[in-house]
Structures are given as C-alpha cells and as structure tokens.
C-alpha cells in the first residue's frame, strides 16, 4: 500500500487541480477520503472512477480482482462505443471466495491472467485492485510483474481500491497507471506534424465520432484518445503527439500535465459541447500544432471548416429558436460537463434557471457564473420536493439531468432529457448540438405531458400529491415567515461544509467573533472546508456578504 499512498499523495499535489490548490499542505496530505459522509454519500468509489476512465480502451481485457460485487453488479453498463474490438465489454473478475480471503487471492489472480491471455489473447490486461484484496494484502503489482515476465505481455496494475476515495480520485489514479506503465512504452509506425492526443474523452454514445470527421477533413490525426475508442498501442505511443486537448474538465488533468512535463506535449482544456466551444477548441488545436511546427495553412483549413459547420448548425438551430422563446431549463448534472452544457443551451435560446454544481471544481463554478451572469441560481443541494416545486412553479419547462434524478422529473410529469453517461444520444460538436436541440424540442412539445397530467376520474386535483407537495412547501415557508426566530434558526442551520458538518451559524459567529476575512481563518476556527475543500467557494461568499464595514469613528 505504500506505493499506493505515495501515488495518492502525488495526485493530491496536482498543481493543475483547483480543488487541491485551495488546500493547505497539511490538508492535502489528509487526502479526499474525509469527504465521504456515512449515510449521506452518493456516487461511486475510486475503483469505479478508475474503471470508468480506462474501460473505454477497447482491445484490452479489464480484469477486476475482488469479490463478485465489484464487477458482477456493474459490468457492461457504460455507453462508450468501439469502432473495433468489443473485448472491453467482456466482464472479467476473479470473483474471490472465502478461501481466497483467508489464504490470499494472488494465485487466483495470476491464474486468471493466464486464462485470459490463453483464451482471448488481448494486447494487454489491466488488473483493477479492489478493497478486499487490498485489505488482505494481495500485491497486485508483484502478480502483474510476474505475469508480464511469464507471458511477455503488458499486464497493468491499476491500484485504486474503492475505499481510498471517491470516483474523481479513481479517475486520476487510473491516469497514474497509464503514466507509470503504458505511455511511452511503444513507438508509432510514423509521426506527422498533425498528431493530436485527446485526453479525458470516453466516446459515450459514440460522440467522439461527431467531431472526428472534422479533424480528419482538416488533416489532424488523433494519435491517441485517452480513452474513448482507444486501443492499447495508441496509448502506449501517445507520447509522440505534438499537442493535446483535455476534454473532461478535471478527470485526467494529471495525465495531460505530466505528459507536458515529460514529453513536452502542450495541452489546453477545451470542450466539444456547444458550437462556440467546438470552434474555439478546433482553433486552439490548430494553433498548438502550428506552434509545434505544423504548416500555418492548417489554420486556414480549420477556419474554413468552422465557418461552414457553424453556418450549417446555426441554420438548423434557427428554426427552433422561436419555439424555445421563453422556455426555461433546469440543468442538473454531475458537474464535470455542466459548464460546457450551459453554453450550448444558451446558444439555442433557452434560459437557464439553475444548475447543480455538486461535483464541480471552483473553476467550473466560476465558468458557470460567467456564462450565466450574476443572477445564476446555483442549486447546491436541492431536495426532490424543492426540485418539484421549482418545476411546478413554471420556473422550468424541462429538466436536463443525469439518469438517477430523472424519476423526480418524470413523476412530476415534466419533460426531461438525459445528458449524463447513461444517455442514448450523442451531443458533441456541431452535429451534436443540433441533435441536443432537436431532442429538447421533442421532449418539450411531446403531447404525452398533457396526457399524463390529467387527473384520474376519482381524483380531486386539490388533494393530489402535487398539491400536497406544494402546500407542504408553502406551509413551511409561511411558518418561517411568521416566526422570525425559527426562520433565523433554519437559516443558520444550513450545512455549509458537508465533510465536517459545519453549519452557517457557526461560521458566521466565528467570523464575527474573530474578525475573520479568509477561508483559512474560517477553517482554523470552525474546521469548515477542512475536508474536501469544495465548500471554500461558499465560505468565500459568506465572507463577502459579511465583509466588515469600516468601524465607526468614535465621536469626540
């Protein structure tokens, strides 16, 4: 475990990561494990995160070393697409039993690797560590090394057992595994001045293919995509690219940054969601490649494609704009892509009434704020009832969110569109943006909503659950309005820091009592923001609101 904790420390020190940059040295050492709250946590573990990041590598056998839960409950559930091998969709697991737990699972792991190589002959086997074998001390690094030597094939240990932290950490640990064992181990047949890496793109629903034809046309070669529709060898020789684009907010920033450091590959953070974002990204790719020695006419070709594609996309979207006038969207996403989706929706003429920023980093939030203006209504922890009320109050006509929150919208008989990993449609690039707009239109104007909202013959609309939910919410609001003391209590009881369970009132008191002006100060006095650090932005806002007015000068 010592090498694993060293890797985790290294990830926490990632200078490119906004969250970590906000923390003090001592807190970084503590790591992200503190942020998980028993009984109040949702979301995947570090193993899940590692698997999500690497599983789109299509020709690799992904072997999960652990009990049946880790693979048996979750395999083949990702929407990534492959243009070639489907081996990545085969579920491999050691499915360790009680005997393995007692005597160790290394032998079973080694035999499993052997069976996979004999039966499936993949270019590489990725071995994922999970909690139970990590606890009993199975040394997967050693087993992988032995298997590599014996079978003459790359066998890559991915050390990211679930209990070391959340999904985000797992994304980065997966990146570390690639950096340590894969990238730079092979050479491409040839290189060109137009070789590009795309990092953090998973080709969900095949959306990479909405952009790749444009790159092909411009003459840019995707040397390696990490990891969507990727092949092992492409990742192994990705260190020969001239430039890189990092697509998914922060998931694999360590890969992009370390490849810049080690191999001199400059990268930028871009998005293919939304028309302008796509154009900007294409320009930036061309600019970086030209900087690295590609002929400058690359930019002319890029601009020509951008001009043509933008014109076509705008023309296609224009006919929806009148239909979208005055329509409001409630956007709830897991976070990583929220800022790019915001831009896309606004391009279509939709108005945003809120966006959840649970998992976003500080930078993401700033971007959302910038895009949405100062009035952005940031929804941090909406309860289902509040969410329903918001939809019901016609402050939103449609909800866009991830698979798991859809049921609230659907049960509230409100149009809903899936924009997270499990979705069926691809929304990237110019064509994807037009597709997204078409889907929103389809959802908004589907007559089914009018049907399903009709009361049942025996139903009294004044006593149905919708009215009850609204009434309950209103009663609560009224009770608070009538009782200022209680209202203040509720206001002060708002949880600001989830990790350390620190309430607003405690923070306000500390600020007043000690004249605090910085997040660090608040942290010292209240422990708030002492966990994952995500609430630093909320504390910043509180500090702003409470900024001391100049003390009155005592009159003589």
């Amino acid at each position: 475990m010592s090498s694993l904790s060293a890797t985790i420390q290294d990830v926490f020190n990632e200078p490119g990561c906004g969250k970590n940059a906000n923390k003090s040295e001592a807190e970084r050492k503590k790591g992200c494990t503190k942020q998980l709250q028993p009984g109040g946590a949702a979301g995947g573990c570090a193993f899940d995160g590692a698997k999500i990041a690497l599983q789109p590598l299509t020709d690799v056998a992904h072997l999960v070393h652990g009990p049946i839960a880790c693979e048996g409950n979750s395999w083949d559930n990702r929407g990534a697409k492959s243009s070639g091998s489907n081996l990545w969709r085969t579920g491999f697991t050691t499915d360790i039993n009680e005997t393995d737990v007692v005597f160790g699972g290394e032998k079973r792991l080694y035999k499993s690797i052997k069976e996979i190589i004999e039966k499936y002959d993949p270019p590489a086997v990725f071995v994922y560590q999970t909690c139970v074998p990590a606890m009993i001390g199975d040394d997967i690094d050693a087993v992988c090394k032995a298997a590599r030597e014996k079978f003459g094939k790359p066998v890559i240990p991915v050390n990211s057992p679930g209990f070391v932290g959340p999904k985000n950490l797992g994304n980065k640990l997966a990146g570390e595994a690639l950096l340590q064992h894969v990238i730079g181990t092979e050479e491409p047949d040839y290189t060109t001045p137009y070789d590009l890496n795309i990092i953090g793109e998973y080709n969900l629903s095949g959306e990479l293919w909405q952009v790749k034809p444009l790159l092909d046309e411009i003459g840019i070669r995707v040397l390696s995509c990490i990891s969507g529709d990727g092949k092992y060898r492409e990742v192994a020789y990705s260190h020969r690219a001239k430039a890189a684009m990092m697509v998914c907010s922060k998931a694999m920033i360590n890969v992009a940054r370390k490849m810049e450091e080690r191999y001199g590959i400059p990268f930028f953070e871009g998005s293919f969601y939304g028309i302008e974002d796509t154009s900007d990204s294409l320009r930036e790719i061309a600019r970086l490649l030209i900087e690295r020695g590609a002929p400058s006419d690359l930019m002319d070709r890029t601009e020509a494609v951008i001009a043509r594609e933008e014109a076509r996309a705008w023309a296609a979207i224009a006919k929806f704009k009148p239909r979208f006038e005055g329509k409001k969207v409630l956007l709830i996403t897991g976070g990583v892509k929220s800022w790019s989706v915001v831009a896309a929706l606004q391009e279509a003429g939709l108005e945003l009434v809120g966006t959840s920023v649970k998992k976003s980093t500080k930078e993401d939030k700033e971007r959302i704020k910038e895009l949405m203006g100062q009035d952005a209504h940031m929804i941090e922890d909406m309860t289902p009832r509040e969410m329903y009320k918001m939809l019901k109050d016609a402050r939103a006509d449609i909800m866009l969110s991830g698979g798991r929150s859809q049921f609230i919208a659907l049960k509230a008989s409100m149009p809903w569109l899936d924009i997270n990993q499990e979705r069926h449609h691809a929304y990237m690039g110019y064509v994807g943006m037009v597709k997204l707009v078409e889907e929103i239109d389809k959802a908004l104007y589907n007559p089914v909503w009018a049907q399903v909202r009709k009361p049942a013959p025996w139903e009294d609309p004044s006593t149905n659950w919708q009215s009850k939910a609204i009434a309950a919410a209103e009663a609560e609001a009224a009770a608070l309005a009538a009782d200022p003391v209680k209202a203040e209590e509720v206001r002060r009881a708002k949880k600001i820091c989830n990790c350390k369970s620190v309430e607003l009132g405690v923070i306000e008191d500390a600020i007043l009592a000690n004249g605090l002006t910085t997040v660090e100060g608040v942290r010292e006095h209240t422990n708030a923001s002492g966990g994952c650090g995500a609430c630093a932005i909320r504390i910043d806002e509180i500090l702003e609101l409470m900024a001391p007015v100049a003390p009155p000068i005592a009159a003589e």
Binding site: P38, G39, A69, D76, N77, D100, E115, F163
Partner: protein
C-alpha cells in the same frame, strides 16, 4: 436428476452472479419507509443503486456507511453510528436495514454489537427498527442475500402471538423469492384475495417498486409492507413461501410463531398452479372462482398452441436456482430440452431440474456450452445480450438485471395467466426468429437427410 458441478476456472468471465448484499438491500426495499444501508465502501452501494435504477427505472433508496481505508482497518463503529444518525435525521425512515459487504466482513465488524451501543448512546434511535444481516460479497449470491434478509426481518420484527388460538385463519403470510417481480406479487395478491383470504407479503416490492406515482417525495421506500404489519404476521393462519430460497424465512416464521407453512418451489406452469389453487381452496374452504377455471383453460390452450414452437427447442438457460427451476420447468413441460443450465449458487432445488448437469458458473460457460451443444434458445438476464448476438440464436430475457428492455418489473410468470403470457412471449420470439432467419429456400433440403440437422429447423 441433475448433477451439480462447480466451475473450475480461476477467472469468472461475463458474470451471471450478483452479490448477496444487494439481494439483501432489495429485500429491505419491500418494506415501507425503509432505507437499506450497505456497510462497506461507497462503491458497494453505488453499483447496486445503478443496477436497480436501470432495472426498475425508479429512484432507488440505498445508503452507504462510506468506509474509508482507515475506517476498515480500525473498524466501522463510527461510520455505522454516523450513517444511522444521518439517515435518521435526513430521511426519517421507519426502518433501517443494514447489510454487510466483503470490506467489513474481512475485518469482521460486529455490527449487532455496534447497533446495541448506538441505541444505548442515542435515545433518538433507541427504538428505531434496525435490522442487520451478514452478507459478505465473497460468499453466496443475490438470492441468498434476499433469503437471509427476509429470515432476519422475520426474526427481528414478527411478534409471536400471545395466544395461538386467536389466530386469524383468513390471514395468510406470503414470503416471495427474489425471482418474483412486482407484477407477480400483484397477480398473487389478486388470486389470494379472490379466495377471501387476506395476504401480507414480506417483502412487498409490488407496493414499492411497481412504477406507481408516489403520493409524496421521500428519500426512503414508498409503499411496501409496514413494520407494524410485519409484526402482526404472527397472527396469520398460514405462511406461503415461494421458492426454495424462502425456506429459511418460512422456518424462522414457524419457529417464532408456530404458523405452519407450505413452500411452493415453483409457481410457473400448469401443475404448480393447480397445486397452489387447490391449496388456497383448502385453507379458505372456498371453491376455485370461475375466473381461475377459465384462466386454467386459457393456459392449457396456450400450452397446446405454443408447444409447436417451444417443443423440441434446445435451451440454454442461465439464472439463479429458483428462477432456473421455475421457468426451466415450464419450458421442459412444453417439450423443450434444457441442454445447458448455468446458475449462481448452491441450492437443493438444482438436483431436481430436468437436465443432465447444472453448472455453477458464468455467462461465458453458458455461451460456450450453448454453442457446443447446438442450442437454439438462450434464456438469461440482460447481460446475455452479447453472447446471444455472437451465437445468433433467439434470446429471451428473464430476471434481474433487465436494463435494455422495458417492463422487467412487470414480467409475469406466476399464476395461470403468467404462464399463458410467458408462453405467448417466448413463442412469438421464436416465430419472429423463424421468419427472419430460417425461412426455407430452394437449397434448404439439398443435402437430404443430413440437412435436417444443420442450418435450418
């Protein structure tokens, strides 16, 4: 009849099996106002949550003790304590159901001890029903987790009657196995009520995961059987258990309350339902309602119509023991041959399946054996889709998870009507396959007698 063998491979490929903690969690979801809590790292819960969400297409209540690396080493008391307090505060549940996982079983957390300490320390939760089940991931399978959990609920929540003579003969406890869908439970409820009996289902997924529109938003389960109704199950005259996996729970009920039970190994097909209806007639003292006499006729007719398509089929079936026995039984009785049977865990029922051997294995085994033995119908859960595509044979989905088709929660196998519909669905699939892939051509029989056993049927 069948020999049961355990696969010899080190590596499980394309798992058929799911873990027992989530089987336990699903059982808790059949209780009203419940919050299932997995004592493990947060992925243990999140994978289960996604799986059930994709299957039922419903919001799923499930929480985690979010064990970190350090906590697993030091023991999870604090995590269990915090989780219970947080859930109590946020979700106001009527019951919290805790299942252990591989992570916490490896360390050997004494969760029952923790719960006692937590109750003693926090008066808020001193009387909150909390049921704990030991369900390590590295042992057994989904249906075992379900069975153990129901048995634990019975032990913990059912009240022994003070006076056995005051039993209510019209009340019947129903302990359904995890292979029954919410739709199945609805069907059983109707049948039992039609005999003038009053059933209590434990667990009752028909109330909680049947896709109905809830009356209010709660983070816990909506619907399901209430804790006080479970307590009152001790007053019933009979217990009906469905599936061998429920024997443990039925025995627990009998031990605690003295209520006799009748275990129905299957409720799919003609004979099992004849036995079921006869039993209901006997305990209720009422003749079978006309409705079921007609439904029986419809099932018989469906069997006659369907046997042309199902008869002689070479079936490869992969399912948990009780579901395998149940649906496999109907297919066998329709003249199909089960040439390949793969399952997840040991069960006494396996020996009675009408096939030569039952393998405790995975979907790779199912696929390879189906190919080897020339099967022409694949029956398993949605994860069979890749294998079916490679085998190029018709694929009928049964069981959990069913994430790539709608209506998994309403698929009916019980009752005369369930059998009838199942026969229609499978026959229609086979007819469509015949039209698409096996229409005769001028070349079909060119090879003479030999050609009968090659390409087409």
């Amino acid at each position: 009849m069948a020999t049961v063998t355990v696969g010899k491979k080190a590596c499980s490929v394309n798992p058929l099996k799911m873990s027992q903690p989530i089987g336990g969690a699903l059982a808790f979801m059949g209780l009203r106002g419940a919050m299932p809590l997995l004592h493990g790292s947060q992925g243990c819960t999140s994978f289960g949550l996604v799986l059930f969400t994709r299957h039922f297409k419903e919001a799923i209540p499930m929480q985690t003790t979010a064990m970190s690396e350090v906590a697993t080493v030091l023991g999870g008391y604090e995590n269990v304590e915090q989780a219970i307090l947080n859930i109590y505060k946020r979700a106001k549940p009527e019951i919290i159901g805790i299942c252990s996982t591989g992570v916490t079983e490896t360390k050997g957390d004494d969760v029952d001890g923790y719960i006692r300490q937590i109750r003693a320390k926090h008066s808020d939760v001193a009387n909150l029903p909390i049921v704990y089940v030991s369900t390590p991931d590295f042992k057994d399978a989904f249906q075992d987790g379900w069975g153990k959990t129901v048995a634990k609920i019975v032990e913990a929540l059912v009240e022994a009657p003070k006076n056995t003579s005051r039993r209510d003969a019209t009340r019947v406890n129903v302990l359904p196995g995890s292979h029954l869908t919410p739709g199945d439970l609805d069907e059983l409820r109707t049948i039992i009520e039609d005999f003038g009996l009053e059933p209590t289902f434990l667990p009752d997924l028909s109330g909680s995961l049947d896709g109905h529109i809830p009356d209010d938003f709660t983070p816990t389960t909506i619907g399901g059987v209430g804790v006080e109704e479970v307590a009152a199950m001790g007053q019933a005259g009979w217990t009906i258990a469905i599936g061998e996996q429920m024997r443990l729970a039925a025995e627990a009920m009998k031990d605690k309350t003295g209520i006799p039970y009748r275990l129905f190994e299957r409720l799919c097909g003609l004979e099992p339902n004849d036995a079921f209806i006869a039993f209901l007639s006997e305990i209720s003292g009422r003749p079978a309602p006309m409705k079921y006499r007609r439904q029986r006729g419809q099932l018989v007719d469906a069997m006659l119509d369907g046997h042309f398509h199902i008869g002689g089929r070479k079936v490869a079936i992969g399912a948990e023991p009780d579901l395998l026995h149940d649906v496999g039984g109907l297919l066998t009785e329709m003249g199909a041959h089960i040439l390949v049977a793969v399952t997840t865990t040991q069960s006494p029922i396996l020996e009675r399946i009408a096939t030569d051997d039952v393998l405790i294995g995975d979907l790779e085994d199912l696929e390879n054996l189906a190919r080897e033995r020339g099967c022409d119908l694949l029956v398993t859960h949605s994860h069979g889709r890749q294998g079916a595509a490679r085998l190029k044979i018709p694929f009928f989905r049964i069981g959990i998870p069913m994430f790539d088709r709608l209506g998994g929660g309403h698929q009916l196998t019980v009752g005369y009507r369930g059998g009838r519909d199942l026969i229609f669905d499978i026959s229609n699939l086979l007819m469509a396959d015949h039209e698409e892939n096996h229409e005769p051509t001028p070349e079909s029989w060119r090879g003479g007698v030999e050609s009968l056993h090659t390409a087409s049927h």
